[in-house]
Symmetry: C2
Amino acid sequence: MSHDAKEKIVTAMIELISEQGFEGLSVRGVASRASVSIGAVQHHFPTKVRMLEAAMTAVASRAAQRFGELETIEDPLTRLQALIDLLIPQDTADPIARVWLNFAVRSTVDTNLRNTYVKLWASMRNQLRLLLAAAGGHKYTDETALELLALLDGLTLSVLAEHQDPDRVRRIANARVEELLRHDS
Amino acid sequence: MSHDAKEKIVTAMIELISEQGFEGLSVRGVASRASVSIGAVQHHFPTKVRMLEAAMTAVASRAAQRFGELETIEDPLTRLQALIDLLIPQDTADPIARVWLNFAVRSTVDTNLRNTYVKLWASMRNQLRLLLAAAGGHKYTDETALELLALLDGLTLSVLAEHQDPDRVRRIANARVEELLRHDS
DNA sequence: GCGTATACAATACGAACGTATTGTGTCGTT
DNA sequence: AACGACACAATACGTTCGTATTGTATACGC
């Protein structure tokens, strides 16, 4: 089975990054976790940086898929709340959030990675802004979206790094959204 | 000169972590940057994890010193704003912020480190809560401080990872503080 | 049916890593 | 003057790393 191995490798990478971050992440470790040979990893991802790139695009597409599922929700407010539910990690082990955090930090030192991260998060902010506008009003500026996404990022960090209670954190995020909407009307 | 070398090593470590994160940080690299021998590094920090611990306590104490200088400010509101000015990185290269971020992320996988990080950030939240109460009112809950610090963390991340304009980010932080105080009165 | 591309596996190589070991000079103490 | 503690320096050891090389089995076009 050909692309089975590729998927297994990507999955193993996400698991390992989520468990131990980028330090300690080795080609050998990925191969071992995926139960494939080192050669298999090298075949699909010729270098380590290509391997990491694949990991990020994988989590990005997985996240995008989840976000896409929200499109079916009609009411902008409940869709906004559902989006927040996705962005705030469900628990301390949430792989998507953990991998995201590692890539965000990595982008502070890696120019190539930063470019994609900047675009990704800019579009995320745009999403938030549109949803805010649709949900409550029309006077939302870019600043509002920047504040909200930064709040969500910081709350996410507090869950992952400090083990803050996810439910409590979620309530805070939702409270801020309601406050933003109330102010506008 | 004996403790000259120790200081040079710590300074070199902070520089290197700030520049390239934990990956790529090696004993040899630190020794080279500090212009001392590998043996010197080993003498003062027998293992690498002890070396990293020293780096974190160093930035913590440097940050604490800066925060201590704020004590002289009488007015709680201006002191709060000054604290925010310290927490939001001045620019993309701000070493304290960058090292902090690396340690925060590291604490998502390192239990020992997390314990100290949790305590550090809990006391930071307490500071914020007290300042908020002194500046504007008395009905501030722990939730308020949690939201504000998360916002500051997220904004910091946006500066470091996305290269958001520090001034703009600072304005957002200050705007939120004013809003919080206005609401209470 | 035969060459070619694909999808791996196995192994090997050189570099970089953390750390152990040992040597050397400079002290303050006795 | 002798000596032990300290602050390094130099080097060596074993491991792990990314990657290059080579081999092999399977699928497929012609």
